[in-house]
């Protein structure tokens, strides 16, 4: 019991640090890919602290409420993940948080945040089914939805779920809001519409959104690392490799329309997942 509590608290504290460092790495690599030097590694932390200490300004109280719910859901799902809980439960809690973010943006009347909210809904609609299918694939292979069971499985899941891994990587791209699917909001924003979802958030609330995003980054990379759960090194390599690939894709593609996003995630993603699932089912 004590061990689990310590694990939980440790995870809740280290996850944002890890997430922040990953974002810093992302910004440096992005800059290097654009032949710039880029900000220091700790830049995301500077941004976060600065935003936290800025004046509080809200458009309405619901914004603040929704942001807090979003961060709570994101951190709870990270906590459940580290405790080896049920994958479906984690996914649903995370989805509730994501919906709260959308509701928060919808409460403001600004057209930019409205458009951003609608686009974020489409993004959730794109990646959520893919992740559920990936979890079903894991269930078909290991016979359990529990992370503990995945960790105990003696063969890397990647061997049996190659297509599902690809699809999960694509879902991660949508979740991290990387180009070409950075529709709802983007870290590389130079215009109003690009900031979408976060347009009406400022100061500490913007910081909280960022914090929630860090939790989610860690959660999703953790989920991806389950595909090589036989060794710690394998998990690390899979997660980091995927993250680097996402940065590369982010920098080599242009943002596309939401129709393309829905078409590609549902068309390609669902087809690949189904092929993999049917294959798993036949081999049982």
């Amino acid at each position: 019991m004590i061990y689990k509590t310590a694990l939980l608290i440790g995870a809740l504290i280290t996850a944002p640090f890890l997430g922040g460092l990953l974002m810093g790495l992302d910004r440096i690599l992005t800059a290097r890919l654009q032949s710039r030097i880029g900000p220091p590694l700790l830049q995301p932390f500077y941004d976060l602290i600065k935003l936290l200490r800025k004046e509080k300004m809200v458009v309405n109280v619901w914004q603040a409420f929704c942001v807090n719910c979003y961060v709570a859901a994101a951190s709870i799902s990270v906590g459940l993940f580290i405790l080896g809980s049920d994958l479906l439960l984690i996914l649903f809690i995370q989805a509730v948080g994501a919906i709260f973010l959308v509701v928060g943006a919808l409460t403001s009347t600004s057209p930019y945040s409205q458009v951003g909210a609608h686009r974020e809904l489409l993004q959730i609609l794109s990646y959520e089914p893919l992740l559920i299918l990936a979890i079903i694939g894991i269930y078909l292979e290991t016979g359990s939805f529990k992370i503990e069971a995945v960790l105990d499985w003696e063969q890397p899941l990647l061997m049996r779920l190659p297509f599902l891994f690809l699809v999960t990587g694509y879902a991660l791209l949508v979740k991290l809001r990387k180009s070409p699917v950075d529709l709802s909001t983007s870290h590389h924003a130079h215009q109003e519409l690009v900031k979408g979802l976060t347009t009406d958030y400022s100061g500490p609330y913007l910081a909280l959104i960022e914090l929630g995003h860090w939790y989610e980054v860690v959660l999703f990379l953790g989920f991806c690392s389950l595909f090589w759960a036989t060794s710690w090194i394998g998990m690390l390599i899979v997660a980091l490799g995927l993250f680097l690939a996402e940065i590369l894709v982010d920098n080599t593609t242009a943002r596309l329309t939401w129709r393309w996003m829905l078409g590609s995630t549902w068309g390609l993603g669902l087809t690949l997942s189904l092929i993999n699932l049917i294959w798993l089912f036949l081999r049982r």
């Binding site: 910004r27 800059a31 654009q34 032949s35 710039r36 030097i37 880029g38 900000p39 220091p40 830049q43 932390f45 500077y46 941004d47 976060l48 602290i49 600065k50 200490r53 800025k54 004046e55 509080k56 300004m57 924003a189 130079h190 215009q191 109003e192 690009v194 900031k195 976060t198 347009t199 009406d200 958030y201 400022s202 100061g203 913007l206």
Partner: protein
């Protein structure tokens, strides 16, 4: 408390997000501001991000003269920025109205409408000068930090009242 204040101060200095408002400039100054973002100058090294949203911004860069039509927009943008905020006026036009000073619709420099902390002269100023101005503005944060560290909202109300009076 001291250490928290220090961390805040460092973070503020290291992460100035800027909003650029073209207040009727001839576009010369705007191009120079945007040039700072290119790989040659790469202001992201200093954590500077060019945001298009007053609610996210710490620094307001204003280029061009203020006229009777856009002064309301300028005041609006300035009020939407959360404290602490700094205003940098860029170019001869932003400082005093420049060559448009005599025009019938021109109010004059940016400081006629909102408080300006740093002036960057030139027509247009070089990107180096603009970066210099921004760095100077960051020092201003230190002074402002004292004022706006606590009770930012009260200070804001006072500032708004003053603005209404004038």
């Amino acid at each position: 408390m001291g250490i928290f204040k220090n961390i805040t101060e460092i973070s503020r200095m290291k992460s100035p997000w800027l909003l650029h408002f073209d207040c009727g400039s001839c576009n010369g100054c705007d191009i120079e501001v945007l040039a700072c973002l290119t790989p040659v100058y790469d202001v992201e090294r200093f954590g500077i991000i060019h945001v298009g949203n007053p609610k996210h911004a710490d620094l307001l860069l204003v280029t061009g003269t203020v006229n009777h039509r856009n002064k309301k927009v300028l005041v609006n943008l300035h009020q939407q920025m959360p404290e602490p905020k700094i205003v940098v006026a860029i170019g001869a036009c932003g400082l005093s109205g420049g060559i448009f000073r005599e025009a019938y619709n021109v109010v004059g420099g940016v400081d006629q409408v909102i408080p300006v902390h740093v002036y960057v002269p030139g027509c247009p100023p070089k990107p180096e000068a603009i970066i210099d101005g921004v760095v100077l503005a960051l020092k201003e944060f230190e002074a402002k930090n004292e004022k706006y560290g606590q009770g930012a909202r009260g200070k804001r109300r006072e500032a708004n009242k003053e603005q209404e009076k004038s």
